[in-house]
């Protein structure tokens, strides 16, 4: 497979949903270090809502991504749900009306997402957020010359490295910001969610 069709994207969301379920406790734990500990519950609920929403009936990638974003926003009762929603709307706009997605398109989607989040919330890379895993992965996709599976293998690794790098960062946004210097040393929960999204896509592709 070298391009993702609407059906693949829907299946990827199902995979992301089960990954979030599997990692609920880990996310709760990470978010408890310098947050309110709801991240696992929120992500699990948010992505499960997508696969139960009317997004699944859309017959166009852009529309699917937009209503999937709305579903996450509706169902996930915490900030990252809103941030993912903002990102999905921004990414979908960047994609426009497209029938299939290759690695570079996917990279553009994620970069568009990150840019929308940065524009709307004022966050930047290196501020210990989901951006720190998403942006390196998006860039890796955009620059990739490899096939789809290998491109996503690289992106997954880039996301993982970005996530690990958040350990050294000081939180500036959200509740974690209250902890200031004390937030240093802990891996960011949101960046972990970013990594898990790429892990899900890579594992989905492996099984095709």
């Amino acid at each position: 497979m070298d391009k993702l069709k609407l059906q693949n994207i829907k299946e990827i969301f199902a995979k992301i949903s089960s990954t979030m379920d599997d990692n609920k406790d880990l996310l709760v734990e990470l978010d408890s270090k310098a947050g309110d500990g709801d991240l696992g519950i929120s992500m699990s609920a948010g992505f499960r809502a997508v696969i139960n929403s009317d997004a699944m009936e859309k017959n166009n990638i852009r529309k699917f991504l937009m209503s999937a974003g709305m579903a996450v926003n509706e169902a996930s009762p915490s900030s990252l749900g809103t941030i993912i929603f903002i990102g999905m709307i921004g990414g979908a706009k960047r994609l426009g009306d497209i029938e299939e997605i290759d690695a570079r398109d996917a990279g553009n989607f994620f970069l568009g997402s990150a840019e929308a989040v940065m524009e709307k919330t004022g966050s930047k890379p290196s501020e210990k957020t989901i951006l720190d895993s998403i942006i390196p992965a998006a860039q890796s996709l955009i620059n990739s010359e490899k096939d789809l599976l290998e491109s996503f293998a690289d992106a997954y690794e880039a996301a993982r490295q970005g996530m690990l790098a958040t350990k050294e960062m000081k939180a500036v946004h959200g509740r974690a910001a209250y902890y200031q210097e004390k937030s240093i040393g802990f891996q960011d929960g949101g960046a972990t969610v970013g990594m898990l999204i790429f892990e899900s896509i890579y594992k989905y592709l492996q099984n095709q």
Partner: protein, 335 residues
């Protein structure tokens, strides 16, 4: 978890149902959606709409202030969680009278982002919106970074002033202007003695020693400035008033409105004991109390603690503050 509730996941919706059962003549759920509350009584035609939104668990904040002379609508989230942008958008649309909608809400990450998105959606449907964020908590950031401050009980003054201005049929720009003017003259700070428990989480929002208090605590259990050994009521009030008046100096002859707000688990007696020292504190510096609210206005469920809000008055603000407000949870008819 010592709560009188049913299934934790039904906490917010059952609260709203109870409120709708009790006050069907005053409040209604827009299109039956329990996350979108709007006025059920007659709203003046052509009036600017004042709306808000935020998480559950803070009654009477937020939805308790929907009513005459205050708010027109409120989007209701889960406990301590923002409602979605889509709910906010529907709420804004449902409240619009053609004169524009002022979104007046507390400065919290999730609410900010969702109201931004909701206003974009409104814009696409040619509904005029403005946004003002309330940042009254002096403990949450420095004066230089005032915009980063979160909201606490001062929200009530913001709605009171904006709601009155709108009910007087002022245009949206003027409503926004007087509201911003009030916010410039508004400061709050609180202390917490115990945490509260989010029903779904089932465990305390933070932990604190039996002989300690968290000074500067936010209404979701956000850390304050410092954890201190327990102080007397008078010492506590002085710590809060010192910090507030350092941020917004008060001089002899100034007039203020004072709110002593209970966070949910603090007896009314204690709030009056605190008010007693606020009164003495202000008397010592020659400041006159123009109006006072003492009670529970913005809570964190069963959290023990209190906050003080001070609104520096002038003749314009007096007119709006005195204007009639009447919601099922709030009235100034007996003040």
């Amino acid at each position: 978890m010592k709560k009188i509730i049913n299934a934790p996941e039904d906490f917010s919706s059952e609260t709203v149902e109870g409120i709708l059962y009790a006050h069907p003549d005053r409040l209604k759920a827009l299109d039956g959606d329990l996350q979108i509350l709007v006025r059920a009584d007659d709203v003046k035609k052509g009036k600017v709409s004042i709306v808000t939104g935020g998480g559950s668990g803070h009654l009477p904040v937020f939805l308790g202030y929907v009513g005459k002379g205050m708010l027109d609508g409120c989007a209701v989230g889960n406990v301590f969680a923002s409602p979605s942008a889509n709910k906010m958008f529907k709420m804004i649309k449902g409240c619009d009278n053609g004169a524009g909608v002022l979104c007046l809400y507390g400065n919290y990450g999730g609410d900010n982002m969702n109201f931004d998105m909701a206003c974009e959606l409104s814009d696409m449907e040619d509904i005029k919106t403005m946004q003002i964020r309330v940042s009254d908590d002096v403990a949450s950031a420095t004066l230089q970074e005032k915009k980063k401050r979160r909201a606490v009980a001062g929200l009530v003054y913001a709605w009171k002033i904006a709601g009155a201005a709108a009910d007087m049929m002022l245009p949206i720009e003027e409503v926004a202007e007087i509201t911003r003017h009030a916010l410039e003259n508004l400061r709050s700070m609180g202390v917490a003695l115990t945490p509260c428990i989010v029903p779904m989480a089932g465990k305390p929002t933070f932990s604190i020693g039996d002989d300690e208090m968290e000074v500067g605590m936010g209404i979701h259990g956000e850390p304050g400035i410092e954890v201190r050994k327990k102080m007397t009521a008078n010492e506590t009030v002085r710590v809060l008033m010192d910090k507030i008046t350092e941020d917004m100096p008060l001089f002899a002859g100034n007039e203020v409105a004072v709110m002593v707000n209970g966070l949910g688990g603090t007896p009314l007696e204690e709030l009056y004991i605190c008010y007693r020292e606020v009164f003495d504190y202000l008397a010592r510096i020659g400041v006159v109390i123009y109006s006072k609210y003492i009670g529970e206005f913005a809570t964190s469920m069963e959290m023990a603690g209190m906050s003080i809000s001070i609104l520096k008055m002038d003749d314009r603000l007096k007119m709006f503050l005195d204007y009639e407000a009447n919601t099922p949870f709030f009235t100034n008819a007996n003040r």
